[in-house]
């Protein structure tokens, strides 16, 4: 009768506060430089140390520049945050993948690719896109800095149990439709608050046939419809992905782990608080036209008219379109764009680069477009070289930058200027997200590639 979420949650229950939240044991705490310093200083102020340092992994990603990482970071505050993380990790004996470390990169890319994220785990990080790790069948969710301090101090967290939702996507995806499009489609249907209070399990044919990279992209975006997290039951695709990864169990431990992992699925008669069903055949390449990830549509569609928006939402809707410089009811296809960003914890993995490269191979970037091509980690960067993707991109006029969050939130120098349009493979199109006044259009790596080639919003299926 239990859902996968219930099983993992219940297995990590340390105790329950009467009339209150659950004290949940945490298997992995990931720390980055932005949301951890205050937690460490709080810990120190209490005279405490991390209770289980071996379960904590630290790496800078938000502030890291995407060029000249061997030099000191120019921006003083960025430098302070990055150095503070290194010092805290050193002081407390925590694993730290600093800048230029071969395992450095965006936490949500690094965790899975090194086998640090495993099925059945509870995983937290002071970052909302921690939901990414659920793709391997773990319960993973973002927390605030006070909660990071909690986990540092006690390896536990106080949480009230969310409700469960299953989103099933059956059918199959057309050519040119990727995991990112599935995610943007779901969010557009659910709205940005539509899964608030829920933990989502994704199921159905489309999910089952999705690669691990695709699943990571999908779970990554769960938070954009308000969900606490998203997860996918582990299967052969998961196990194949994990086998041989550095921190994954080895030899006899692997067999023990596999025996356990195979039990990790929702029972046939499991009851979810909410069930949602979509058909994969209905999905086309998506693009957002507004200032939240729920404002997305099929790339060939028209922006919804004001009349089609519920009355209470019209003021925000108009404000949003005004910010974007678009009119209700108009087509986006053919509109000029200025920047393209391939990267982030949503689409900074090898498969995303393969997809991008498949479209631009043998062609040339439009000279008016500035493109930031940013691998999610050094590991991904090495894969690009091994597969010769770097050459394809360079020949097409793209330069590959050094790994990090980059233009996803523009904490480093990679900022989109005010009023300019960026087709971005990241996860947020909020006002000012990619720089003050920047206009972000979220889309898949294929849509980004098509835009980079033409300088306009283009249906990637016409370039394939």
């Amino acid at each position: 009768m239990n859902t996968l979420f219930d099983k993992i949650w219940d297995a990590h229950l340390v105790t329950k506060v009467e009339n209150g939240p659950t004290q949940l044991y945490i298997d992995r705490l990931y720390c980055h430089e932005v949301t951890s310093p205050q937690a460490f200083s709080g810990l120190k102020a209490r005279g405490l140390k991390p209770l289980r340092p071996e379960k904590i992994f630290c790496m800078p990603d938000h502030n890291t520049p995407t060029h000249d990482q061997d030099k000191e970071i120019e921006d003083e505050i960025s430098r302070t945050q990055v150095n503070t993380l290194a010092q805290n990790a050193k002081e407390f004996g925590l694993t730290h993948f600093g800048m230029l470390h071969p395992k450095n990169g965006i936490i949500h890319v690094v965790g899975p690719e090194n086998g640090l994220t495993l099925p059945g785990m509870t995983i937290v990080c002071g970052d909302s896109h921690t939901s990414t790790h659920g793709a391997l069948g773990s319960v993973a969710f973002g927390i605030g800095t006070s909660e990071v301090e909690m986990v540092l101090a006690s390896q536990c967290i106080l949480q009230s149990k969310p409700k469960t939702m299953r989103i099933t996507v059956n059918g199959r995806l057309d050519k040119g439709v990727t995991a990112k499009d599935v995610a943007l489609y779901i969010i557009a249907k659910m709205t940005t608050g539509g899964a608030t209070g829920y933990f989502v399990e994704y199921a159905g044919d489309v999910i089952r046939s999705m690669s691990m990279e695709g699943r990571l992209t999908l779970c990554n975006l769960s938070i954009e419809m308000g969900a606490r997290g998203g997860m996918i039951a582990p299967d052969e695709i998961t196990f194949d992905y994990l086998k041989g990864r550095e921190f994954a169990p080895k030899e006899s431990e692997w067999d023990t782990a596999m025996a356990f992992w195979k039990t990790l699925k929702s029972d046939d008669d499991a009851l979810f608080d909410k069930e949602i069903l979509f058909n994969g055949n209905d999905i086309q390449p998506m693009i957002t036209y507004g200032t939240n990830p729920g404002m997305g549509m099929g790339i060939t569609e028209k922006i919804p008219t004001l009349e089609s928006i519920p009355e209470v939402g019209r003021i925000s809707y108009s404000k949003s379109l005004e910010y974007m410089g678009y009119q209700p009811g108009e087509l986006l296809i053919g509109k000029k764009i200025d920047y393209v960003f391939l990267g982030s914890c949503t689409n900074g993995r090898i498969e995303d680069f393969r997809a991008f490269a498949s479209l631009v191979k043998g062609k040339k970037k439009d000279p008016s477009v500035i493109a930031w091509i940013v691998p999610g980690s050094w590991h991904v960067n090495n894969q690009l070289k091994e597969e010769g993707i770097d050459k394809i991109l360079i020949e097409a006029g793209f330069a590959i930058r050094q790994p990090g969050c980059s233009a996803c939130l523009a904490m480093n120098d990679d900022k989109v200027p005010a009023g300019k349009y960026a087709v971005s493979t990241s996860n947020r199109n909020f006002e000012g997200r990619q720089g003050p006044g920047a206009r972000t259009l979220l889309a898949s790596p294929l849509v980004a590639a098509a835009a980079a080639l033409t300088g306009k919003i283009t249906d990637p299926r016409t370039c394939m």
Partner: protein, 199 residues
């Protein structure tokens, strides 16, 4: 703000009748670079509050002397977006102790409570009439009684019950902290670890 006991608060309100105010609006990412919790209040709603030259934008409500108080009244789905607690620090740092809306993003709600800011969910009609009262009379006061879990629009004398997790209520009313509680269970943490060795 921290560890201040919360019982009853009566205050005028600052109205922000916009929906889906996200954490990037509450505190833009470029202000997240600090390594302490201080000073975030100064940059609350930075890009709505100041223009590029750093001059106050007179039309924004925080710059309008007509409105003040320890209660922020906001449109639906307040605090969506990132998990960053900086948004809660900015709200707390500015001096708000209560945020009233008809809907909050989950993580924001938790973060607010962890910083002794009380997020209160009210019905859409209550919210609409509160906005209406405030715009007619900026002196409109709201009374929040945490013990009774009621919020009262004193202009109309209408009140509503609000929900809060009993544990959080206890913490807020007593100025208590989660970490003390968690560590008081250290024997249970160790017992769990002994039984569950897989990772």
């Amino acid at each position: 703000m921290k560890n201040e006991k919360f019982t009853i608060l009566t205050s005028t309100c600052v109205p922000l009748p916009l929906e889906n105010v996200d954490t990037d609006q509450i505190i833009p990412a470029r202000f997240l670079k600090a390594t302490t919790k201080d000073g975030f209040g100064d940059n609350l709603f930075r890009d709505w509050r100041y223009d590029k030259q750093g001059n106050q934008i007179g039309s924004f409500v925080l710059n309008d002397p007509t409105y003040s108080g320890q209660i922020l009244v906001a449109g639906k789905n307040f605090g969506s977006g990132s998990s960053r607690e900086h948004a809660a620090w900015a709200i707390a740092g500015y001096g708000f102790r209560v945020v009233i809306s008809s809907f909050f993003a989950d993580i924001f709600k938790n973060n607010a409570l962890n910083n002794f800011v009380l997020p209160i969910v009210v019905s859409e009609p209550f919210l609409a009439s509160l906005f209406n009262c405030i715009s007619k009379n900026p002196e409109t006061k709201v009374e929040v009684n945490l013990a009774d879990q009621t919020v009262i629009n004193t202009a109309l004398g209408v009140s509503e019950h609000f929900e809060i997790n009993p544990y959080k209520k206890h913490c807020l009313m007593n100025g208590l902290d989660d970490i003390d509680f968690l560590l008081s269970n250290k024997d249970k943490i160790e017992a769990w670890e002994t039984e569950n060795q897989q990772f």
